[in-house]
């Protein structure tokens, strides 16, 4: 948490100096100033939007920043963006490391959306596509180092679909297997439960923007 604390300090100072955004930000954050800075929006150029969100450009155009999705979320996973979000100020997003989306079967957030920024017709949580989990730091992944961690896999709400385990021989010990978590982009909904659960100080598995579909005709 050291770096984020530092970051929030700097940003906070700058943002107080800027002054003009203060009233807006307070209104949007509803007092939860600290939460504004836990994850920089620009770190991955990606906001984790609530389930059923349109493609980012269309989402920003459609979202009326009413906060009804956040009100509907039983886990308080959905927060409204603050000043640092720039044009996206006041839009809903999820900070998975803090509170991920737990994929309520009836998707109350999407149902609550009056503008169509979130798809109200979405019924099946497995069809949600908020983003895709990626192991961004393989060297620091305990499972890939042969330890029996695999917390991301066991906590995945689409266990054995979005994440599976591929055992392979651990050459270092000679008698154990490395249980590699493998993420399947066609199944991962991007809920961020894995990112939340990762036991490292900096999660080695995070949700990122889903890669564009690239078609070919190879079948395995």
């Amino acid at each position: 948490m050291d770096s984020s604390t530092k970051h929030s300090g700097i940003t906070r100072r700058r943002f107080l100096k800027d002054g003009v955004l203060l009233p807006l930000a307070l209104a949007a954050a509803g007092g939860g100033v600290s939460t504004l800075f836990l994850r920089r929006a620009d770190a991955r150029g990606f906001y984790l939007r609530p389930p059923g969100a349109l493609e980012e450009g269309n989402f920003l155009a459609a979202c009326i920043k009413c906060g009804k999705c956040a009100q509907a979320c039983p886990y308080n996973s959905i927060r409204m963006s603050g000043a640092e979000a720039g044009v996206a100020i006041g839009t809903p997003h999820i900070i998975a490391r803090e509170t991920p989306c737990y994929l309520c079967p009836d998707l109350p957030c999407a149902k609550a959306c009056p503008s169509g920024a979130l798809d109200r017709k979405l019924e099946d949580v497995e069809k949600v596509r908020m983003g895709t989990a990626v192991i961004v730091d393989r060297e620091n992944c305990l499972s890939l180092r042969g330890l029996r961690c695999e917390v991301c896999y066991r906590q995945c709400p689409l266990i054995d679909k979005a994440i599976t385990i591929l055992p392979r021989h651990n050459q270092r010990t000679g008698v154990h297997s490395i249980m590699e978590p493998v993420i399947h982009h066609d199944k991962c909904v991007g809920c961020g439960i894995c990112e939340n659960a990762c036991v490292r100080d900096k999660p080695v598995i995070v949700v990122m923007k889903s890669p564009p579909e690239q078609k070919d005709y190879y079948e395995f």
Partner: protein, 768 residues
């Protein structure tokens, strides 16, 4: 981690260099690891019975890092996620650092002298008024060998009561009685090498993927190397183990008894047994049937074994046709035949592995007997790569509870209080009058807490365990502890727990490497470690606490030690010579553990096997030499199928099963204080089958009310989690101290082992 990754890596490299150079990482005092200033020492992991070796990094009087010990044969540098966070389990913010004495509703800080004076006075008063059987010690498979030994010696040899039990009664007792009735000697013949050497693994009621994580990865690696390896998971719940097994065989709870008899039936009918082996190494016996469930207070049972012939046994098995077992178990008859043939396949090296599904079972002893039957019929036992292997739950359930014998009926090294020769041997080693050791066992764990509830036990001391979260039918025993009327409960622990809540005195304990220790793991491997850091505040080891009570009760002469740990070990070792044969203490200081019997400095990988076990003579091949009564043969038991103590009915239509998850250890008092683990798995859930949920209109994550005849709990349902309940079953883990699932469990137990059945009771589920 207090260390940066770079520092950590540097320090690790230094430790490896030390190991390579032959410098000692055994005693942290002498192994300064270069510029990082971290001293590394060896210890076994604090958690499960696997017994992974770790290196503990100490700096500034604190544990700053741990890592898997590359030189440890069990894990070769690996750990599971619990082991990874060992450096944090002792440093929760609310660590107990001062003795606390109850004053009304408050716990007030006191000095050790005040606390021990009060405890000693309560012991004296109770013994004077109500006799020595009114005081009791409830210990643990997480006791070090020294702690268990000292408690046993004080209670049996000093105070003169058999009121001592370990929490291992709740997890391993059926394995013990299984071994004792079949082989007349506790603990497995095989070892972890069988995970590398076998090719067929039958798992019974064992979620090895989560509960023995490092061993599981070893078995899976065997399959990666050898595509012929088959892993068959018999279970009542689809687990991570089932997911990676070649076959998952679902059966109805309790019907493992019928299945194993049906497997034996097929082996006999198709003449797949090893006639020569049976003739030479096996006798047949039958015991009592309809043996009850231990539900009523002061339940007593004594088996009455009768010898029978092979033909009698065959006759007994006639009823257990695959069709009959199929009707009971839900496993197709053809599948039973197929798996019986696989068990008996002469080309295959077959192993059976089991844990709590077998042991926490109202017929736990029987089902242990029955799995040995199959191995004895086929002769697939005591050979490298093919053995039945009882996997252990706790780090020293074997080393302390079983080998030291901290059960009401036991003395060290498989001896029992009911045998006058055994009492005489103990009295001789302890230098006491043999009359001091009472010859009748008193209470098993459940009965001990029933006696506290009734008021027959007045003073109860709990060490290194959390009974007031972990006992079945918990409400009764939690209430019982606070009934007053002279009842006095002492709890030694490192954190506030559900048990310290009901205590009259709380004693702050030293844990793990805050004291010198010795654990024995599931493969008979004894492992020693030194004290590496001071315990916080005024916390003291349980060994010190027990010896201090002894001194105050006038039994100080039983503990005349200068270097208590080593001297206790050498004294205890006298019990083991000529049988379990532990090595001298110094040997364990040097080694990364040794598997007993250790004779002439050589450990034993396979017991009862010629060329491996020093007690088997040349030409004998296999000899079950411990069972002198039956001329060195093992026993095949005719044990029938009998139903569970409580089965689902109209009112309570679901089976409830409880258990563990990989992330948390037992009642979660340590792992729950590691923020990373707590975040990874914060709270208990109720696993349920999606069809059952749909029928009842319950959606995933929705809260449900679960009710048994004994208690109620509200939990969110998990329809698609790591564990998948079968139809008509639910599963709840027991680590969550805010959700006491054990309040619902039934306190029925196996009449022979006294081990409760946490895997089967009837509940109803409603929308909350």
């Amino acid at each position: 981690m207090a260390l940066s990754r770079r520092e950590f890596l540097k320090a690790s490299a230094a430790a490896v260099a030390f190991a390579a150079a032959g410098a000692s990482v055994l005693n942290p005092k002498v192994s300064e690891a270069g510029d990082a200033g971290i001293k590394w020492g060896k210890a076994p992991c604090r958690f499960c019975g696997t017994g992974c070796g770790v290196l503990v990094g100490v700096k500034g009087g604190k544990i700053v890092a741990t890592k898997g010990d590359p030189a440890a044969p069990v894990n070769r540098g690996l750990n599971c996620i619990k082991g990874y966070f060992l450096s944090k389990v002792l440093y929760g913010k609310d660590r107990l650092t001062k003795p606390l004495i109850r004053k009304g509703d408050k716990m007030v800080e006191a000095s050790w002298d005040e606390a021990m004076t009060l405890i000693a006075s309560k012991f004296k008063e109770s013994i004077a008024k109500h006799g020595p059987d009114s005081v009791a010690m409830y210990g643990s498979g997480q006791w070090t060998v020294f702690e268990g030994y000292a408690a046993l010696k004080l209670f049996k040899g000093g105070i003169g009561t058999n009121n001592i039990e370990p929490n291992a009664r709740l997890c391993m007792a059926s394995a013990v009685t299984g071994f004792m009735t079949t082989f007349a000697s506790d603990e497995p013949m095989g070892c972890y090498d069988d995970l590398d050497l076998g090719d067929t693994y039958f798992l019974w009621g064992a979620n090895m993927a989560e509960c023995h994580p490092v061993l599981f990865s070893r078995m899976i690696d065997n399959r990666l190397k050898n595509p012929d390896v088959r892993i068959i998971d018999f279970g009542t719940r689809r687990t991570r183990t089932s997911q990676m097994a070649d076959q998952y065989v679902r059966f109805n709870p309790q019907t493992d008894l019928a299945l194993l008899n049906a497997i034996a039936h097929v082996i006999i009918k198709e003449k797949l047994y090893d006639e020569k082996f049976i003739k030479k190494h096996v006798v047949f016996k039958k015991g009592k049937e309809n043996i009850g469930y231990g539900l009523e207070d002061k339940f007593k049972f004594t088996d009455d074994p009768k010898p029978i012939s092979f033909d009698d046994y065959k006759k007994f098995l006639e009823k257990y046709t695959p069709e009959y077992a199929s009707k009971l178990s839900g496993v197709p008859a053809a599948k039973i035949v197929e798996l019986a043939r696989l068990y008996a396949d002469k080309k295959r090296k077959v192993n059976s592995l089991w844990t709590m599904g077998f042991n926490q079972h109202v017929r736990g002893t029987w089902v242990n007997n029955l799995v040995y039957n199959v191995h004895l019929l086929t002769g697939k036992i005591s050979r490298p790569g093919e053995n039945p292997m009882s996997l252990t739950g706790q780090p020293s359930a074997c080393g302390t509870a079983r080998e030291v014998g901290t059960f009401t009926h036991r003395l060290p090294a498989d001896m029992v209080v009911t045998n006058p020769e055994h009492r005489a041997k103990a009295a001789e080693i302890w230098g006491i009058d043999v009359k001091r050791i009472p010859d009748k066992p008193t209470y098993n764990a459940t009965e001990m807490f029933r006696a506290l509830d009734r008021g027959d036990i007045k003073v109860l001391w709990s060490q290194v365990t959390n009974p007031f979260q972990s006992l079945p039918h918990l409400n009764r025993y939690r209430k019982g502890a606070r009934k007053g009327d002279g009842r006095f409960v002492i709890v030694s622990d490192i954190y506030p727990t559900k048990s310290t809540e009901v205590a009259d005195v709380i004693l702050p304990s030293a844990s793990w490497v805050e004291k010198e220790g010795f654990f024995g793991n599931a493969e008979r491997r004894g492992q020693q470690w030194f004290k590496m850091v001071d315990a916080p505040g005024e916390a003291k080891s349980d060994l010190w606490q027990t010896m201090e009570l002894a001194r105050r009760l006038g039994h100080g002469n039983l503990f005349p030690y200068k270097y208590a740990e080593k001297e206790i070990f050498e004294e205890y070792r006298k019990f083991t010579v000529g049988g379990k044969d532990l090595a001298p203490y110094e040997a364990y200081v040097k080694a990364r553990g040794l598997r007993w019997p250790v004779v002439n400095g050589k450990e034993t990988l396979w017991r009862y096997a010629e060329g491996h076990d020093p007690y088997v003579k040349a030409g004998e091949g296999v000899k079950f030499y411990k069972n002198k009564k039956d001329d060195g043969r093992a026993v095949i038991w005719a044990r029938p199928y009998e139903p569970a103590a409580e089965s689902p009915d109209k009112q309570y239509p679901f089976w409830l099963c409880t258990g563990r998850v990989l992330e948390h250890w037992h009642t979660g008092t340590m792992t729950g204080r590691v923020p990373e683990i707590k975040r990874a798995y914060p709270a208990a859930v109720c696993e349920m089958h999606p069809d059952d949920a749909k029928r009842m209109g319950i959606k995933n994550l929705q809260k449900v009310k679960i009710t048994s005849r004994r208690g109620t709990i509200i939990l969110p349902v998990d329809l698609n989690g790591r564990g998948k309940a079968e139809k008509g079953n639910i599963f709840v883990a027991f680590f969550d101290e805010t959700k006491l699932i054990n309040e619902l469990c039934i306190d029925a137990y196996c009449p022979i082992s006294g081990e409760p059945d946490y895997k089967k009771c009837a509940v109803k589920v409603e929308k909350a």
